[in-house]
Symmetry: C2
Subunit: 200 residues, 2 copies
């Protein structure tokens, strides 16, 4: 199973995926390309360190999100992939991109969706006083953080948590969960029926 | 610790509390009164079977929610309690009631709040395709299912679940969670700071 990874930041989820490929846990997964809208971001260094082709796409050269997404699609055309994996990619993907990878773009979000969609999910969870939060891997559609849910992992929230301590606890589980999903995708068939996702 | 239990239906959470008192798990808890807005409901039979005073309050005899709540308050005046425990009580409590028990009315809800507030939480969870739901015990304030969260328990949701199978799985955990909260309330001090609840 070939994947493209899209990231904008430090790429810790990308690093975890690369580590799990190297260890053999994701023996059927190959990162065919790394794409970033932030040329020079730490995540792109991870790609270079593992000889993964890096596609830098500078959004300041595109006049709109759709134009930018069309550039992404054309750059990715040289790297056929089964799934597009968002790992801290900080731009919203438009239909221009998504139609090329129907139900094959996945994202990870640091909450138990539908709770706390959007930015600063961990901060929102702390402020809401929840006792359980977590992370969610979902199929990406045009609504932000609303696509069908593939897997979730619950994480406890303690009364003395702040955004940082909760973020760290969730991140540990993100690294495990994303690779569990990729392992499933590489070994089984994913079915999406309405909003319900299953593997067979 | 004396509690009043309010219920409108079969009272399975009430039964679990009574069982945990009898077993000694809730050795410091006593149900001082049972209140229902549905005279003759199965929950009231549980109360009678355990010699717990039953206060039947018929809402058709009150002209408004506030009047009804004032009747509840006056009926409960004979039974001083530390906490009011909602166990499937199907009416919204107004400020008229809540001001008499500030931060001492608690409720259980069959989802991980803030996800799926209101009626049919389990059905909404199945329809949303979440992989984790659960139950929440929270302090009751005037906004439905929005008060500070005391404890939560996560429950897995499977791809072949329907409302009934998920409800049953969550209910098992409700019975455990509610008594865990009551045990904490009877042995420790609850602090509420903003929306964050802790015990010391």
């Amino acid at each position: 199973m070939k994947i493209a990874v899209l990231a904008s930041g430090r790429g810790s989820n990308f690093q975890a995926i690369v580590d799990n490929i190297k260890s053999g846990y994701l023996s059927r997964v190959e990162v065919a390309a790394f794409v970033t809208d932030k040329p020079g971001c730490p995540a792109s260094e991870i790609a270079r360190a593992h000889d993964i082709p890096v596609l830098d796409v500078d959004p300041s050269r595109s006049s709109s999100r759709r134009v930018f997404d069309a550039v992404l699609v054309s750059r990715l055309r040289d790297y056929p992939v089964d799934y597009v994996v968002l790992a801290g990619y900080m731009r919203i993907l438009s239909y221009v991109f998504l139609k090329h990878y129907p139900q094959r773009v996945i994202n990870i979000h640091p909450s138990l969706l539908p709770a706390f969609p959007g930015l600063n999910a961990q901060k929102k969870a702390v402020e809401a006083g929840v006792k359980i939060s977590g992370c969610t891997v979902h199929v990406v559609d045009e609504e932000v953080d609303r696509g069908p849910i593939i897997m979730q992992k619950a994480v406890p929230v303690f009364a003395d948590d702040d955004e940082q301590t909760l973020s760290r606890r969730i991140l540990v589980q993100e690294h495990l969960l994303y690779s569990r999903v990729l392992k499933n995708l590489s070994e089984k068939e994913m079915q999406i029926s309405g909003r319900t996702v299953s593997f067979s």
